[in-house]
């Protein structure tokens, strides 16, 4: 008997059962508790925005892939465009008008990803790039934070009203909106008020659960944190970036809070924020735009943490995570250039080791 087979192939003929698509879906699974909670908290307008953002991200991806003359379906199936749209939607104000979602998705997919050559080629995190561009271009829409108004509650907008909110904007804005915790602290600081006074009505528990004003999916510390820990346990992400990021923020906040507790927010308030968890576990850990060695990842996380703290504390914006991540994304190639694993049998400079004298 003679058997002939085609495709001569070297190297691992078997493989680990993990594809790009599975990785993307697991990340989305980890995001979903916080997303569902956010959608419930902010009702139908948030749902509209989420659907619009995600579907337009997919459409832009399909459009770009078609422009390149390739079939769109297999590329869409990898789930990366879906995840980018999803992450972007999570970071938008929940009642933002429809075009914020569409423009954001366009920025993320076209400018953030496809112009670089598609999946794996981009320098910046697409969702953060889009969010920062939107924040700079449309500061009003991007800082209008809806009150918590859960689905099926009497005072919450119904389906018909939600369409009006999404497509023609809010009337009587002030009745439905307010400031986020960090935004409120920033404004009150400028009135020369002290922290104990400002934080009279602050509830750590509500922030922990996520019953507070904020971005669509970024309010709940506990749900995002648990999702992130699950991702680490599933070995989708490494612990280095989240841990070094959170530790750096905690350390800096502790130092300054100990020096002057009336002007510097406590580390617990810094960390008890869904946005912080989202950035630490889901945004900064993006494979494409973060370093690929454990040490590099520690440096990257610490850099993000430092920048977040600096921008939150002394910057013009109440929240600095987007800017911090983008700046560190730009530093990633540099980190990867200088921090490399040591090759077996060589020293850090790449020279062969010396033979030890017996």
């Amino acid at each position: 008997m003679m058997i002939t087979t085609s495709k001569p192939n070297s190297g691992a003929h078997i493989g680990a059962n993990r594809s790009v698509r599975q990785i993307m879906w697991q990340v989305m699974l980890a995001l979903s508790p916080a997303t569902v909670f956010g959608l419930w908290c902010f009702g139908w307008p948030a749902f509209n925005l989420f659907v619009i953002t995600v579907s337009s991200a997919m459409m832009f991806e399909a459009f770009c892939v078609r422009l390149k003359g390739r079939a769109a379906k297999p590329v869409l199936m990898d789930g990366s465009a879906l995840l980018t749209g999803w992450l972007l939607a999570m970071t938008l104000p929940p009642w933002a008008p429809w075009w914020i979602g569409v423009v954001g998705s366009g920025l993320a997919i076209i400018l953030g990803k496809q112009v670089y050559g598609g999946l794996g080629q981009n320098l910046f995190n697409p969702a953060m790039l889009a969010r920062v561009a939107l924040l700079i271009s449309f500061p009003i829409e991007m800082t209008t934070w809806a009150n918590v108004s859960p689905l099926f509650f009497a005072q919450s907008p119904g389906i018909a009203e939600s369409w009006r909110i999404t497509f023609s904007g809010l009337e009587n804005l002030d009745a439905y909106t307010g400031a986020t915790t960090l935004g409120y602290i920033k404004t009150e600081f400028s009135q020369n008020r002290l922290l104990t006074d400002i934080l009279k009505n602050y509830s750590a528990t509500l922030n922990f659960i996520g019953w507070t004003r904020g971005s669509l999916g970024e309010t709940s510390t506990v749900l995002l944190g648990l999702g992130g820990i699950w991702l680490i346990r599933q070995k989708i992400i490494q612990w280095q970036i989240p841990v070094s990021l959170l530790l750096t923020v905690a350390l800096l906040a502790s130092i300054f809070h100990l020096i002057d507790s009336e002007h510097y927010v406590s580390p617990f308030l810094h960390l008890n924020s869904g946005a912080m968890m989202c950035v630490a576990f889901f945004i900064a850990t993006d494979y494409v735009t973060s370093p690929n060695t454990p040490t590099g990842q520690l440096v990257f996380g610490a850099g993000c943490g430092l920048l977040i703290f600096v921008i939150r504390t002394w910057g013009a914006y109440p929240e600095g995570a987007g800017f911090a991540v983008l700046l560190m994304n730009a530093a990633t190639p540099l980190i990867d250039h200088y921090i490399r694993p040591r090759i077996y049998g060589r020293d850090r400079q790449g020279k062969p080791l010396e033979i030890p004298k017996p």
Binding site: I3, S10, A12
Partner: protein, 495 residues
Amino acid sequence: MLSFFSKPRIRGGVHAEEHKAITATQAIVRSFPLPKKLYIPLQQHVGKPAEPLIRVGEQVLKGQLLAYSQGLISAPVHAPSSGIILDVNDYPAPHPSALPIRMIVLETDGKDEWLTVPTIDDPFQLAPEDISLRVGAAGIVGLGGATFPTAVKLNMGRENRIDTLIINGAECEPYLSCDDRLMQECSGQIIDGVRLMLHGMETGQAVVAIEDNKPQAFMAMQAAAQPYPSIKVIQIPTRYPMGWDRQLIGYVTGREVPVGCRSSEIGVTIHNVGTAYATHKAIRHNQPLLSRVLTISGGAVGRPMNVEVPLGTLISELFDFCEVDAKQTARIIMGGPMMGDALPHTGLPTVKATSGILALTANELKNTEEQPCIRCASCVSVCPAGLRPLDMANNIRVNQLDAAVDIGLKDCISCGCCSYICPSNIPLVQYFKYASGEVAARQQAQHKSEQTKRLMESRTARLERIAQQQREEEQARIAAKLERERLKAEQEATA
């Protein structure tokens, strides 16, 4: 000695599904029918091919020398059975290319008649050099797959005064279980082989390292090594590529082999358990390496097993014996699924290096649908050599081979961990093998062009020298002529 107690760190590696139980639980099959024809390659080892000393049509006995070792690094080849030499010619090699290489074709007569040779009573009375000589004459090479001539390694060990001999019983490749079975069934012979190796290298201690997924082999080996305090049997974690010699040396001794050095230079030599077994047979029974135990396994194999086969048996005959389903077979692999090579067909012989032949179904194979790299860096974290496969692959993709060499292409050991783990199914090892081959070819081409240039230059110089010589002679002739004329004129003037 302290390094034995501190817990050494294992770098990188993966844990693949083992698929070993199906063959590891059955006894080695020793009833494989003698094939009608054996195809014996003259090169089954690292180094120079052996030189045949038989003629076509000659009658040979089992164990008779067919081709002798040539040069310092080489190994002889013996007749695996008795019969007639049919041909000495080029036949397809057991290699992915299946390109022809020189082989001896032996038609067996079925008698399996041994060449009678005297055996020695106490090999420990032999001089250590004699052990190496006998091992070399028996054609023994590293049976773990490296196929480096064992005698050369024994000599290097002795010359470098190594302190530790490591016996590699890791068998970290999935599916393969031939070493496992051999350790379970022939532990006494293996330990005897280890003692002979220690004697041959004049080394004090040996460590037999066995992965902890083979508890039975470990117990058998420990029992066999009990009487000998110089031999220690230890369990090591199950993690591919634990059997990579450098990984094992690091784990057992805590030492690291510098790039460009052999392990004997840092006081360690490593041999496979199969090699120790072959050494026992060569020294105690004066039997050269004629057969080996190999694993036939995979989803398409009806009767997966470990079987002892004569060297030169065609894979097609083995597959018939093991009832391999041809329709199910998606890929034939020589060796394990991590580092083994895919073979184009089964009309190829088994050789000294063949530790297993796998017939895998499409379901068992890795998906080949390649997707863009998402820089997940799994390949960086699994690489036991500390390389960055993703960056190397990026360089190779745009044909910047020198850049790939700069970041460590030549330190790649082709273990396959990166290809195994890659979620985008990028055939990274294929990239690296291609690039290494291309770099070697370019260096050769450059070497050739430099050589040509040198030859050209020396030719020009030679021609120039000759021309110069001719000019000088010409001038001398003219000068002589003038001198003669002057003398003549003087003579005429005086006359």
